[in-house]
């Protein structure tokens, strides 16, 4: 009897190993069901058509206004922001679509919940797989930008530590925002498939992805400054392309007014990213737990809505 109870209460090491296994399995499942880079159609749609199409719209907008003589710095700004945005769309969608898929299509959500693995790990694993798809899209867009549009990329000039730290923290913040959305769609119906893209679209305005924050009214700039994605973009952009236009700073920006400086330093970027990511992660987790509880109370975990 005690041996059986022992099996139900594993030690810390076993629990950690089980968690790693669950995360890896969820990642592999996410990759198999959604990515499958060996499927040319899927690969083309998510890693080429969508991100390159989005970047092309912006590049044309820039070129049309400038009459084909666009400032290279502005072009770079737009291309880099658009490329990196693939991570955001993929990461946010990954968790939310996993909930919807498992609830509406595969009808597996309730079984995941009764399995011994924490649902959070499973969802994060699926989200991480989707971020992998986003990474392909970002990479391809950047390569096109460098090769065809003359983006000034010099591997020797890259601030690799800043790039890696910013990227790691940024991905955590993306997954945390995805957690918010996963919690939301747990309460809503099947038509919620479009919600991740809507959220990504809304954030697009606020975080200086394709235009500097200083173009926005001050109150909206303030929202951007407390959003981790803003600092993530600034960090990665500045690390990969030193000297690139700042999305946060600039003369007349709210940041410049508050900090007394034109642009943030690397240390400031990392600090702001850590702080904002921590807040968003905690809030995301709390909201997810609340949504889970509500879903269990209302029997939403195995509902099939359709519409």
């Amino acid at each position: 009897m005690s041996a059986e109870l022992g099996a139900a209460r594993p030690g810390r090491r076993e629990a950690w190993a089980a968690s790693r296994r669950a995360f890896r399995t969820a990642m592999r499942l996410g990759w198999q069901t959604e990515a499958n880079w060996t499927d040319p159609l899927l690969f083309f749609i998510y890693s080429v058509a969508k991100p390159v199409g989005a970047a092309a719209i912006l590049i044309f907008m820039v070129d049309i206004i400038s009459g084909g003589r666009a400032d290279p710095a502005i072009r770079s700004f737009v291309v880099i922001g658009s490329a990196l945005w693939s991570f955001v769309v993929a990461g946010i969608a990954g968790l939310a679509w996993s909930v919807l898929d498992d609830r509406e299509r595969y009808r597996m959500l309730k079984y995941l919940y009764v399995s011994p693995n924490p649902i959070l790990l499973l969802l994060l694993g699926r989200g991480a797989a989707r971020i992998g798809i986003g990474a392909f899209g970002a990479g391809i867009t950047l390569v096109i930008g460098v090769v065809l549009l003359g983006l000034p990329f010099d591997p020797l000039a890259v601030d690799w530590p800043l790039a890696m730290v910013s990227m790691a923290l940024g991905l955590v913040s993306i997954l945390s925002i995805g957690l918010f959305l996963a919690a939301t769609v747990m309460q809503t119906r099947q038509d919620s498939w479009s919600y991740p893209e809507a959220v990504a679209g809304g954030l697009f305005l606020l975080v200086g992805a394709v235009f500097p924050l200083l173009v926005l009214p001050a109150p909206i700039q303030a929202i951007g400054l407390v959003t981790p994605l803003t600092w993530w973009l600034e960090g990665v952009r500045g690390a990969l392309f030193p000297g690139a236009l700042s999305g946060i700073g600039g003369e007349g920006s709210l940041y410049a007014t508050l900090a007394g400086r034109a642009e943030p330093s690397s240390a400031e970027i990392v600090l702001a990213l850590v702080a904002s990511t921590a807040v968003v992660s905690v809030l995301g987790l709390l909201f997810f737990r609340w949504s889970e509880r509500r879903a269990k109370e209302k029997g939403l975990l195995d509902q099939v809505t359709g519409s």
């Binding site: 119906r189 029997g299 509902q303 099939v304 809505t305 359709g306 519409s307």
Partner: protein, 380 residues
């Protein structure tokens, strides 16, 4: 069927063209009347000839139907009985125009399932077991009304018909409940109500009690029978792998296996195929002459001690049990007389009949459960 079906006497039906809206009025007095089912002499409800359906699959194609011949008369409740994978659902999908046969022909009330789909869809409906169709956010009432629109009922007539059917199937308390919150049994009642919205001339029921508990399954069967008996001419094709259900409900049935109909007829006819004698389980307080004494009675083919399986709950009782095999029920009189001469009293007497599974085993050589474990038939 060529007969005129006469209901309880009522005025003859109205002549001349009718406005569509009037058709939807559920006046019992108007419609419970003398009905002439003017089916043409050649219009069987179902007439399937040499129907074959092959699915492309890897590594080899799968034969789901292998030359099925099936004729069902109008007004029958016909059962298709067979294990999982026998081809019952495939046949229903062919007959309900969801699937084209690879070869062969099938007609429902004279309408070709391949070429006259529009006409056929106006007079039929299908209800499947375990159906989860519809939209979870809608109430029961709304869901049914939506489907009523697909069958051309007017807006108001649709609501009226829906309310009547909700009451008829026993979902009155759930009528304003969201479909996603219904229990399995309630869901199936909803599905059945949906299937009856257009008053189909033929109703296809594909495992309608699948997944239901005993009570819900019984209610479903009762509703099906009530609907069919309420007016003449209603035909039902029911598929199931529950023998008792088919035995209870069906006028005639066919046993299906590996895409073929092995035998068809009434339940009694099929059982007579495997058992020509009458078998009785007899319990008496004592048997002074032993089993041999009864075996000597005229018409008794054998009188032996039954097995524990034969006895069931009677095994524990302090009585003497005898398994009698008679060449005819009439021989029982002689047995009773002999028992009387012995001074023995009859405690219990029960007739043992073969089941449809016995029929299946006789035809196929193995039971349902064993058959379901075998791989599907490949193309020959």
């Amino acid at each position: 069927m060529r007969a005129a079906c006469r209901g309880i006497g009522e005025p003859a039906p109205m002549k001349g063209p009718r406005r569509y809206g009037r058709f939807a009025r559920p006046h019992a007095q108007r419609y419970h009347r003398e009905l002439i089912v003017s089916v043409s002499p050649t219009s069987l409800a179902i007439d399937a000839r040499a129907v074959r359906r092959v699915y492309k699959a890897k590594p080899e194609p799968i034969v789901a139907l292998d030359g099925v011949d099936l004729q069902v008369e109008p007004g029958e409740l016909f059962g298709l009985l067979g294990p999982n994978g026998a081809g019952k659902t495939t046949l229903i999908k062919v007959l309900t125009t969801l699937l084209l046969p690879t070869s062969g022909t099938a007609r429902v009330f004279g309408f070709d399932v391949a070429r006259q789909t529009t006409e056929l869809r106006r007079i039929m409906n299908i209800v499947s077991g375990g159906e989860q169709s519809g939209y979870g956010l809608l109430h029961v009432r709304e869901q049914l009304w939506m489907f009523s629109q697909f069958y051309g009922l007017g807006v108001r007539d649709g609501w009226r018909r829906v309310d009547q059917l909700i009451e008829a199937v026993g979902l009155t308390e759930q009528r304003l409940q969201k479909v996603s919150s219904l229990s399995t049994g309630q869901r199936q009642k909803l599905n059945l109500a949906r299937g009856l919205l257009n008053d189909p001339w033929i109703l296809f029921l594909d495992e309608p009690t699948l997944g239901l508990d005993v009570s819900a399954a019984r209610q479903t069967r009762e509703l099906v029978q009530q609907w069919q008996r309420a007016l003449p001419g209603r035909t039902i094709l029911l598929t199931s792998h529950y023998m008792a259900e088919v035995d209870e409900l069906c006028d005639r049935l066919a046993i299906v296996d590996r895409g073929r109909i092995l035998a068809s007829g009434t339940s009694a006819e099929l059982k007579r195929r495997v058992q020509r004698e009458s078998i009785f389980l007899l319990e008496v307080d004592r048997l002074p002459g032993g089993h041999q004494a009864l075996a000597a009675v005229r018409g008794v083919l054998s009188a032996v001690e039954p097995t524990a399986h034969d006895l069931g709950s009677a095994a524990d009782r302090q009585t003497v049990s005898v398994k009698l095999t008679l060449d005819d029920d009439a021989a029982l009189g002689g047995v009773v007389g002999e028992l009387g001469r012995m001074g023995a009293s009859i405690v219990a007497l029960a007739k043992s009949e073969p089941t449809l599974e016995d029929v299946f085993v006789e035809l196929v050589g193995r039971g349902f459960a064993e058959r379901e474990q075998e791989p599907a038939e490949k193309v020959r």
